[in-house]
């Protein structure tokens, strides 16, 4: 029996991009309990519905997160469209899907870079972000924004991608695919990386199910949950299978995300091949009256939007549940029994987005 002590981790820590505080109860070098506390960056986005009407809220919803901003905007907009029975043009659905997948790619590449940095591979980190830069350039060229796209509106999208642009993007994606396959070798075959990730923070399928883990974190433990299979956007027309793994350790989470990168490239290619001609949006009249519960797959996992309108421009209720919120119990479970030196990597493997969580 060693000495039991409590080590505070965060809210300011080099590995954390955003503030979360963890009280780590450690016995010698092993963690026996982790107690999270959040609330450092609460902004009260949900309560802004009393000040902004449902059209303006699109821009607020987008600013829930800096990385999966498009997903938040899309989830909100699709929920409002469902309440108002708006039939979005097919072209808009496909464009949304392409942007969503580009957004997923840039999020996953960002995460891979951070992970490489966490286990000490700094040039691999730069390499990942160099690939990500090409995705950001594509996003900026097509939407006008690098991080906040602002192309969604209730009823459709605001910007179009013409044939030349799609062809150019398809060519660029080929380059990106080659580079991703290149870094895949570095991540998955390297002995040092395997020593840092294999068998670290194992979460079994049963545990992941009981703790309600979402997204790649849950999929790496063998739960084949992917909200894209529900067929919002244009996902119903595209062919794909959720990427899963049965290992449930940090290595599996890394492998899942790399596979999802390649899957996203495939999905974008499918969408580019099938995108129909047509309008970008339909005019929307009236105000939302009713409620809807929208589930959408963000890069980090399942996000949930509950929207309630009462026939007035200002909504009654907006509730956003983000994937990191669902993954925090899973994180605390994986931390149990882990080495103190593995804590940064374990926190990173849930791909934490604390500002999203606190909204």
């Amino acid at each position: 029996m060693g000495n039991i002590s409590v080590v505070p981790f965060g809210p300011q820590h080099p590995v954390l991009p955003e503030p979360i505080h963890l009280d780590l109860v450690i016995e010698d070098e092993k963690i026996i309990k982790a107690v999270p506390s959040i609330g450092f960056v609460h902004r009260g986005l949900e309560s802004l519905i009393v000040k902004k009407d449902f059209n303006e809220m699109v821009y607020v919803a987008e600013r829930t997160c800096g990385i999966c901003s498009f997903g938040h905007g899309m989830g909100y907009v699709e929920a409002v469209e469902k309440i108002m029975n708006v039939q979005v043009p097919d072209r808009a659905r496909y464009l949304r899907t392409i942007w969503m997948e580009l957004s997923r790619m840039h999020s996953h590449l960002l995460w891979l870079g951070l992970l490489a940095d966490a286990f000490g591979y700094e040039s691999l980190f730069y390499h990942c972000w160099r690939i990500r830069e090409q995705i950001l350039d594509m996003i900026e060229e097509s939407t006008g924004g690098r991080v906040i796209f602002s192309v969604n509106k209730v009823g459709g999208v605001m910007r179009d991608m013409d044939k030349q642009m799609l062809a150019r993007f398809a060519e660029k994606l080929g380059d990106v695919e080659d580079q991703v396959i290149g870094i895949k070798k570095n991540f998955l075959n390297d002995r040092t990386v395997q020593l840092r990730l294999r068998g670290v923070g194992v979460l079994t399928k049963q545990q992941a199910h009981d703790l309600g883990c979402a997204g790649p974190f849950g999929r790496a433990s063998g739960i084949a949950t992917d909200m894209r299979t529900r067929g919002y956007g244009a996902y119903a027309d595209l062919e794909f299978e959720p990427v899963t793994s049965n290992d449930g350790d940090s290595y599996a989470r890394c492998a899942c995300r790399i596979e999802e990168l390649l899957q996203s490239i495939d999905l974008i290619r499918q969408a580019m091949g099938r995108i129909p001609e047509g309008d970008l949006f339909v005019p929307v009249k009236g105000n939302p009256d009713g409620e809807y519960f929208m589930r959408i797959e963000q890069p980090r996992g399942e996000a949930v939007y509950y929207i309630k309108g009462n026939g007035k421009p200002y909504l009654n209720r907006l509730r956003i549940r983000t994937p990191t919120f669902a993954n925090l119990p899973g994180l605390c479970e994986t931390l149990k029994g882990a080495d103190y030196a593995d804590v940064p990597i374990l926190i990173l493997t849930i791909d934490p987005c604390i500002s999203c969580t606190e909204r």
């Binding site: 006008g144 570095n186 002995r191």
Partner: protein, 181 residues
């Protein structure tokens, strides 16, 4: 060993290839055409309808119709482009390139040129006169209800002429130089 070879390829490529980043202040930044950089206004086209004020999510725009001014607090603007999509005259536009930094969070005011203001005042006076005339005509029509329809219209015509005769040609004259500019 295999790992070492993996990295060696990347390493050698990086040694001989050009830097990915730009030497920014020396090399100018190239922005894509669609970039939502900052809002610009063609103020003389603006009709001060106030739709941009009402649509702006961070409420950073104010419009004064009487003064003919359009004010924006660029430090509050989120460059979402919602105002530009709502503008009926399409005089608001998002252009590439970021706004310059400033020492204080001051708002910028754009004022319409005097010619445009003059023309607008004339037009407004004309519209008001027309409205008054129509009102008067309607009132007279009501008063002289049993008389045939043509009579009150004929009577009403000279009556507003007292108000409008001087303004109407002047308004036309004032609008012409404004258009030239």
């Amino acid at each position: 060993m295999s790992t070492f070879l993996n990295f060696t390829g990347t390493l050698l490529k990086n040694l001989v290839s050009k830097p990915v980043t730009k030497n920014y202040p020396e090399e100018p930044a190239v922005y894509p055409e669609r970039m939502r950089g900052r809002i610009v206004i063609d103020i003389d086209q603006c009709i001060s309808c106030g739709l941009c004020v009402r649509s702006c999510p961070p409420r950073c725009i104010t419009v004064d119709k009487n003064e003919g001014t359009w004010t924006i607090n660029r430090f509050d603007c989120i460059a979402c482009g919602y105002c530009a999509s709502k503008c009926p005259k399409k005089c608001l536009k998002l252009i590439p390139g970021y706004q310059k930094p400033g020492r204080s969070k001051a708002a910028v005011t754009y004022k319409k040129s005097e010619e445009v203001m003059e023309a607008e005042r004339k037009k407004a006076a004309e519209m008001a006169a027309k409205k008054a005339a129509a009102l008067k005509a309607a009132r007279e029509k009501k008063a002289a209800a049993p008389v045939s329809n043509a009579a009150p219209a004929a009577n009403a015509a000279p009556a507003p002429a007292v108000n409008t005769a001087s303004t109407a040609p002047a308004a036309n004259a004032a609008e012409k130089p404004a258009e030239k500019q």
